[in-house]
Symmetry: C3
Subunit: 159 residues, 3 copies
């Protein structure tokens, strides 16, 4: 087991902590800023990934699509009111080449609806590719490979 | 997204890890020691915070009140037997001025009662103010802003 | 509260992150590699530990037994299909002497079965003894002291 460079580890874990809080606070407009312009964000079932099937339940292949998703959430989509709470593990760096770094981190998104109970809405792992430059990390791609294939009602806000 | 100084990040994350274990182990008498004398500890619903309403479900505005709460738990209060388990995310430092640091960290408190099942008892985020001096951090204030507005039975032990 | 040496803290937290992902990915054959040859791994109820009772629900006192357990899981045991998801807190170093380090970390193992819902399968804390040499940490012993004394169906894969 290789130990990642502590500075790199810190950049990735800090990004993940800020990412979770951003979504949980409802600061959705900040969410695209974690990504580079030419990015990929998808939420896909573990079963599909394991079987080489590409269908995702959420798919954005540009920063513009991320922004669109937020606009849609604010102005168009209908979904149950909810609070989310992200619990994200320490990342495991899986590769590093030049200024590209790949890493994975387990996550659980808890959700609280109008009934006031908190349930596990979606659990899985982030499979990420980062661009690290000028002492900062940004997501080139984030694939949320989830275990929870029974999605309660619908997936509205990003994982 | 600014990256916090690693030493500071470590102080805060270490305090949170020790804090969680302290409460989960049932070492309640150690809990006030995470705070300075003139401190504030409160547990308040996210709805209230969002709407500027001040009523908290637990409120202590001095270290003495923290100590009193523990004495009450040991000698007076009646509540269901339970184990707790804190899962606390990496903190996000939100501000730093002199030796005062503000930070936030997502948390989930799991609870196991006599039936042996573990449920999500309370999830939310810690909104904290720390005093950092002599290489150590202590809490000036901790506000547990929780999502889980249906509290199972009652809130007895601190979050 | 003593702050652990950051390098040591990083070694332990990195081991825990890799450990969780190893089991969650289903890379069971990698699991024994986190341990030294003459190791101890056990999963035991908190009630038993609190009362000085030794009976564990899973017990392996050599690396060979860990390997056997994996072989049994692959070739013999019958259990419900499931995905697991480990959420492991930052560790608290509890002692350090020579190249032996003791530490504890809270954990929750979430489980998803064929119905697609994710539940809390087992929550507790790791009580660990590490051997730290040549810049790497390995487990001498890991005791999973769990709160969740109602185990859903059975405990098959390691915690």
């Amino acid at each position: 087991m290789t130990i990642a460079d502590p500075v790199l580890q810190g950049l990735i874990d800090s990004l993940n902590a800020a990412y979770g809080l951003c979504l949980d606070d409802g600061r959705l407009e900040d969410w695209p800023e974690f990504f580079v312009e030419d990015c990929l964000y998808q939420v896909i079932a573990r079963e599909n990934v394991d079987n080489g099937l590409p269908a995702a339940v959420m798919y954005c292949d540009s920063k513009g699509m991320l922004v669109d998703r937020v606009v849609a959430l604010r102005q168009a989509n209908v979904f149950p009111e909810h609070f989310s709470r992200h619990l994200i593990s320490r990342a495991v760096v899986t590769g590093s080449e030049g200024n590209t770094v790949t890493a994975e981190a387990s996550y659980a998104v808890l959700q609280t609806r109008n009934d006031g109970e908190t349930r596990i809405f979606n659990a899985g792992k982030y499979v990420d590719r980062f661009l690290v430059e000028d002492g900062a990390a940004r997501l080139v791609s984030r694939t949320c490979v989830y275990d929870t294939h029974r999605i309660a009602t619908l997936l509205a806000t990003p994982i």
